[in-house]
Symmetry: C2
Subunit: 417 residues, 2 copies
Amino acid sequence: MSAGEEAAPAQPQKPEEQQQQQKPEENQVVEEKTEAAPAAAAEATEEQKPAAAEEAPAEPQQPEVTYKSLVLSAHGGYDKVKLQTKKGQPKPKAGELLVRVRACGLNFSDLLARQGVCDRLPSMPVTLGMECAGIVEELGEGVTDRQVGDKVMVVSRYGLWQELVTVPANRTFIMPEGMSFEEGAALLINYMTAYMIIFHFGNLRPKQSILIHMAAGGVGTAAIQLCKTVKDVTIFGTASASKHEALKESGVTHPIDYRTSDYVDEVRKISPKGVDIVLDPLGGSDTCKGYNLLKPMGRLVIYGAANLLTGQKKNIMALAKSWWNQFSINAMQLIASNKAVCGYLLGRLDDETELLADVVTTLLDLYKQGQIKPKIDSVYPFEQVGDAMRQMQEKKNVGKVILVPEVPKEEAKKEEN
Amino acid sequence: MSAGEEAAPAQPQKPEEQQQQQKPEENQVVEEKTEAAPAAAAEATEEQKPAAAEEAPAEPQQPEVTYKSLVLSAHGGYDKVKLQTKKGQPKPKAGELLVRVRACGLNFSDLLARQGVCDRLPSMPVTLGMECAGIVEELGEGVTDRQVGDKVMVVSRYGLWQELVTVPANRTFIMPEGMSFEEGAALLINYMTAYMIIFHFGNLRPKQSILIHMAAGGVGTAAIQLCKTVKDVTIFGTASASKHEALKESGVTHPIDYRTSDYVDEVRKISPKGVDIVLDPLGGSDTCKGYNLLKPMGRLVIYGAANLLTGQKKNIMALAKSWWNQFSINAMQLIASNKAVCGYLLGRLDDETELLADVVTTLLDLYKQGQIKPKIDSVYPFEQVGDAMRQMQEKKNVGKVILVPEVPKEEAKKEEN
């Protein structure tokens, strides 16, 4: 996996671009501004435009390119991701594309990265963001399978919460007809994750049962839709009670309120033998509970450590507790119980270009057939990234939280009126 | 899993039959005889018949039923499984069948049980044998889906190396047209194991690669045939060099001689990234090697501990070594490597009647389509059970080792000439 460390970081952390930053007018940070109050958002963007214009008067005949970027400059709370305006047109290198970003997805990994619970980001300051959707503006040398004007979805380990990004062409996927940029920014990571944990590791088959934690979240929503593509699957889904109606509508057989009851007891009441698959994004002691809930021949898929997120900042006690309660197992125990344990982290599959492309192809077929459709919880402008992160971290969302470089049209309309 | 302890032991270890043993003429051991030399086999059966007849003169108008049974009376070497002749017609209870056994399969679990490396057998003396094929002779109360004269395959945790067995009807499966009793005795355990580890846990898909240890053995042979039902699978198979020709013919892409080379090096030479699936019947340090050989998203399926079998008797050093080298893993390690570890033991799936029946139905369909066919390595009469066990334990077999209550026809013919 160490080879993965070198793979495909998104613009602008590459050496070449760092050199560009030496030039005074290019890729230079001209402003930092992030607003927490929604009402201030539209004003904030208005303020930036003149500010950027003032600082770039050197070549008036060739208007200076500026673009917004959400940069993490110190680990900590919601306020640590700051909006910056960068200057200078980024140039795609050989095999890369320049993409104008129209929408970005939020993921748990972004929240963990902000807190510093992530070992694979370059040193700060660093632009966060693992997925986005936008329009191809320029092709790097040798790129033949994309065209300027193509609408694409992009996946990367970081760097995509930015108006302009340069990315390897093989990390981009053409959006199908009729897909919105918000949907495009909501599809890749959640659905790739859900697909691979359910079908490659979980091996879900007709008549089986599955427990989905955080069923109303991004991966949860994707997982439910994908489970519905298999016949007669019983879905147990945990979420707070207020989301149960939405879960039932989306196909969850048994919604469980994990805040007021023990989900293990609730599952056992309905299915005394347990379930065939547990998807575990929580970690810590929940992993052990999940393992014990498996039927014989059951599969536990661990794909996250959301239990580490207990507040805005890195919680040493939560880390220690998760470490202390970390699930560990040996060969004899596995054999004696006829069970499987799988670990999944999309961020460490950088090199598996072909595998990931196959998965996306399958997902796009399912999208075109109407079998999957990303559910958008909310759309925040870059200026409100703090609120967006809070929405997700406090688990208020039903579906995907999206960031957009521009104020969303509806918001802008409201501002105009 | 503890409920499994109570499930479905085969005749004659049940309380009711133990009561029958109180009666002097029924189920009584009248003789012990096991011959190691093949030449003596036919003579041995000849000798038994008059001996059994002499000891049952009480009711001459109703000839005494006798039947052979292979009984383990002390843990140890090949000579610890002894041929006994039991007396008295066993009676099937409600839900059971009486089956006249025509062929039995040998499995690694039988060898481990003989050495005492097995915690789930009743106390000795105990009849070994986990699978057989034969003809239904009598139906217990309430059995409606079997008829006298049906040819059936039977699976149980023990007790089937015997001429007459009473077994729960739901542990029997009707043999398809044209299947020999030897094939019937070779199918269930090896193919159920191979099917479940490859498809339920391994989740083999087209274009993937798999490493099969002991590829010429019973499970190995079944695994190769099942892998061939999936398109473009690359099969690595370990076996000693003398078996490589047979492996190539059966569909192994890359036979590897584990005795003269390091199989890890050999696999890496051909596939530097490793394989998608490793089937591990070995245990100990080989489990760790298997895990390291996995590609990202790879699955390791541990289904045995053949490394414990180093000689005729239980080897404390081998046990200690396997324990010391036992594979152990935690959640973080699994996530960071995108891998899955599964444990499988058919003997602990007693209660999963429906699951096992589904698997057998699929296997019989594949058999009828000619996609799988048990490969018989050799057929030994009960009298030569020691030789049969040696053949398997010394890994001389290519395919399944079979035991039959009668001297095989060809052997008998030779004796006659």
